[in-house]
């Protein structure tokens, strides 16, 4: 695939040929001669590529699936393609050659031919002087000169990496077009490189940052659920608003402009939020979609078996395809919607299917795509559902209903139990058992109900640590949220270490009063079992926000999602979160700047701030921590690990706060 780094020295060649072995041979040979080669296997793709990138030469096979070589050649010339075109064909007769050359090709090579001959012809064609000097691409005062690979903004040069250059060139060449991550990967990364979506996001962010620091803001926009697109250049926006406010005097106009842009940001957010909400409902309808797909699959199977479709199945399949056309696009599945449209058209033409093979191929492709989507969607646990825009979290409401905390005390001391029961608040439900076996029963027994939230294990008088360790290990593994307190006279490092090898616990000494013991437990419980934890997350990527909202709710963390960093300052006092999650790179305002703003106010001194980012270079890390952040989590991450880290931060900060308040009292 294209190596943009070679662009300065190399001529760009596009091979449109369905014989992949032939492509491989020619591409290797041309690459050795320092040409940049891209290849596609059908005419339609060839057309798309030729529109997106400027090639010095296009090699076209005449017999292509989809759009044939001659038609593509004509289409290219009609579209004013000025590069060279070399036709390849198996037909060695004068008539074919004439048709080929008349369609606008510069040369004609008959297959089979040797690689040497073909590359020699290519070299000869590329030596010819031609009008391929690319026009300079422009976006406001930003200019990209494809022939020199130079990028300038108001005559100041901007240096970009090859990938960033490739991205910018692609966007500038296709101002209206939305590029999905998959399309960008296909265009700018090689077959042997398989970076994830995160890589693209990072490159886009870096590109945005470089453009922004040079003075060009908001060049590329996120189109939610679809990909990225070039924004209209700033002069067009100004022109548009100037038109509407022509009659107003200039002072008013300045005012109006700023109102307009704020209004348009708000509108864009709503549009994106609506698209995001639509995508979020996909899991609710995965059964409906799967059923429609199953009907199509049944039709394909029947068609393959008996070569025809019974009329009922035909009708059902047509309806299923029709419904898929109508619904998939709403969930951002444009490609799948288009595919369904092709299937529907094919099914609706007549009672006899004219091209059953093609139909089966489309259905199988649709199945593949949709099954992948459905698997992904169903993996997201539906602990929370969106109903009329209100999120109901099962775990969360469960906590609210039963604010009771159940405490299991394992102790042979009746005295301790009596004392605890006497002073315990009503919300603490105490159960007592006298040995480890009974204690274990409590956990096994209660599996169907709610297991104990807190365990107080009195090991005073236990000589053998082995069964204790093994019990603690089992219980803490099965119930990671269980809060464990251990009462022991042996306050030595050795004992503490032995216990630490089995679980996370709080050590208590029996010398204190029952009241003190209870206070200690309740203090910790109040940090571990509040009604909810509240995290404010700021990220410009709505997909990330949506995922955080959905996933973190499983651990009782309620997320307030903000895609516009500018709203953070007003949202903070309103929501009073337990923790703030920030993305490092966002358009307009960087996460680090936001973090400094939060820390600039004494009120938020102790508020835990955690960064989420794909970047993990030393400089960024240094900046993040020195801006006052408490933690830095690198993407991609496991939600479970993320939740644990966030909960630890919140709980610790609550404990510290509580202690500070205690001290000041």
């Amino acid at each position: 695939m294209a190596q943009i780094a070679n662009l300065v020295s190399a001529m760009k060649i596009l091979l449109v040929e369905d014989d992949e072995i032939f492509i491989a041979a020619i591409a290797t040979s041309l690459a050795c001669q320092n040409y940049t080669v891209e290849s596609v296997t059908d005419g339609e793709q060839g057309w798309e590529y030729a529109q997106a990138t400027l090639y010095d030469l296009i090699v076209l096979d005449i017999n292509l699936p989809g759009l044939d070589g001659i038609s593509l050649c004509r289409q290219l010339r009609d579209a004013d393609y000025k590069g060279a075109i070399l036709l390849l064909t198996a037909q060695d007769d004068a008539h074919s050659k004439v048709i080929g050359l008349d369609s606008g090709a510069d040369d004609y090579v008959v297959k089979p031919c040797t690689t040497e001959e073909l590359t020699a012809r290519i070299r000869a064609l590329l030596r010819r002087p031609r009008e391929t000097t690319a026009p300079i691409l422009q976006w406001g005062t930003l200019q990209l000169n494809p022939s020199t690979c130079q990028i300038t903004l108001a005559d100041q040069e901007i240096t970009l990496s090859p990938k960033e250059y490739g991205l910018l060139e692609l966007f500038l060449r296709n101002p209206q077009r939305i590029f999905s991550n998959a399309m960008l990967l296909e265009r700018l990364w090689g077959f042997d490189e398989t970076p994830g979506d995160e890589t693209i996001r990072t490159h886009i962010k870096r590109l945005r940052r470089k453009l922004k620091s040079a003075g060009a803001e908001d060049v590329i926009e996120n189109v939610y659920g679809m990909g990225y697109r070039l924004m209209p250049p700033p002069d067009q926006l100004i022109a548009a608003s100037a038109e509407s406010t022509d009659a107003i005097n200039s002072a008013d106009r300045a005012d109006q402009d700023s109102n307009l842009s704020t209004a348009s940001i708000a509108v864009n957010e709503k549009v994106e939020a609506a698209r995001a909400a639509a995508i979020a409902t996909l899991s609710q309808f995965s059964d409906v979609i799967a059923a429609r797909l199953a009907t199509l699959q049944e039709a394909a199977e029947t068609l393959q078996e008996i070569g025809a479709l019974p009329s009922t199945l035909h009708q059902q399949a047509q309806q299923a395809a029709h419904k898929l056309v109508g619904s998939l696009g709403m969930f951002g599945l444009q490609e799948e919607s288009n595919l369904s449209k092709k299937i529907e058209t094919c099914l609706s033409q007549s009672s006899v299917i004219s091209n059953p093979c093609q139909l089966c191929k489309w259905i199988s492709q649709l199945s593949q795509n949709l099954e992948a989507v459905l698997i992904k969607v169903n993996k997201i646990p539906s602990a929370c559902q969106i109903e009329s825009g209100i999120r109901i979290n099962a775990i969360f409401s469960d906590c609210l209903e039963q604010q009771m905390i159940s405490l299991l005390v394992v102790s042979t001391s009746d005295e301790l139990i009596r004392a605890l029961v006497d002073i315990a608040p009503k919300t603490l439900q105490i159960t007592q058992v006298t040995d480890l076996d009974q204690a274990q029963q409590q956990f096994v027994h209660r599996l169907a109900q709610r297991p104990p939230d807190v365990l107080l294990l009195d090991i005073v008088g236990f000589a053998n640590m082995v069964p204790i360790s093994s019990f603690l290990e089992k219980v803490s593994e099965a119930f990671p949220d269980l809060l464990i307190f251990i009462l022991s006279c042996q306050n030595t490092f050795q004992v503490r270490l032995k216990l630490a090898r089995s679980c996370q616990y709080t050590f208590l000494s029996p010398s204190v009063t029952a009241q003190h013991l209870l206070d200690k437990m309740l203090e910790k419980c109040s940090c571990y079992f509040p009604t909810h934890y509240h995290v404010l997350a700021v990220d410009d990527d709505l997909m990330v926000l949506r995922a955080l909202e959905q996933q973190l709710s499983r651990w009782g963390i309620q997320v307030t999602a903000l895609s516009n960093p500018e709203q953070l300052w007003n949202t903070l006092p309103q929501t009073k979160p337990d923790l703030v999650l920030l993305d490092v790179e966002m358009p307009r305002i960087r996460g680090i700047e936001l973090c400094r703003v939060i820390r600039s106010d004494c009120q938020w001194d102790a508020l835990p701030i955690v960064f989420l980012s794909a970047q993990s270079d030393c400089r960024t890390l240094q900046q993040v921590y020195s801006s006052g952040a408490d933690d830095y989590i690198t993407k991609p991450f496991e939600y479970k690990a993320l939740a644990t880290r966030l909960l630890n931060k919140i709980r610790r900060s609550r404990l510290v706060q509580r202690k500070l308040i205690g001290v000041s009292k």
Binding site: S327, L328, I386
Partner: protein
């Protein structure tokens, strides 16, 4: 400030109803009622008197055309503008609907981000009229 509009969505497909509902609530804060069949739609239209109706063309039992005819037969509902929601746009079908008084067509799949805007533009509900 935008006035509170009430929209009725008549579509037999639950996903379309849900997404349209969410979309219009989020982007326009409109009040949304929905019906899964033609006759339910007519009943709700009579009860709720929405400001506009989004009507699916292909529905089992009582299809879009029959529903539109029924809506136009009641004095209470005949003035309510109806917009068709369909994935296929056959010219002959379109003509039938327009003859019966449909205001416009929205093609499925619609963009949940822009559905509200499209309805406003078909019905001429610009924000200026409603300030």
């Amino acid at each position: 400030m935008t006035a509170q509009r009430k929209i009725l969505i008549i579509d037999d497909e639950p996903d379309i109803r849900e997404v349209a509902k969410l979309s219009l609530k989020i982007t326009k804060h409109w009040d949304i009622v929905s019906a899964g069949s033609g006759d339910e739609g007519v009943r709700i239209a009579l009860e709720e008197r929405p400001d506009a109706i989004l009507l699916d063309v292909l529905m089992p039992i009582m299809n879009g055309l029959a529903t539109l005819k029924s809506l136009k037969s009641y004095p209470e509902t005949q003035v309510i503008p109806v917009i068709l929601l369909t994935a296929t746009v056959k010219k002959a079908i379109q003509e039938d609907f327009f003859y019966l008084g449909a205001q416009g067509i929205l093609i499925k799949p619609f963009d949940p981000g822009l559905l509200g805007e499209q309805i406003e533009s078909i019905l001429g509900w610009t924000n200026l009229n409603m300030v």
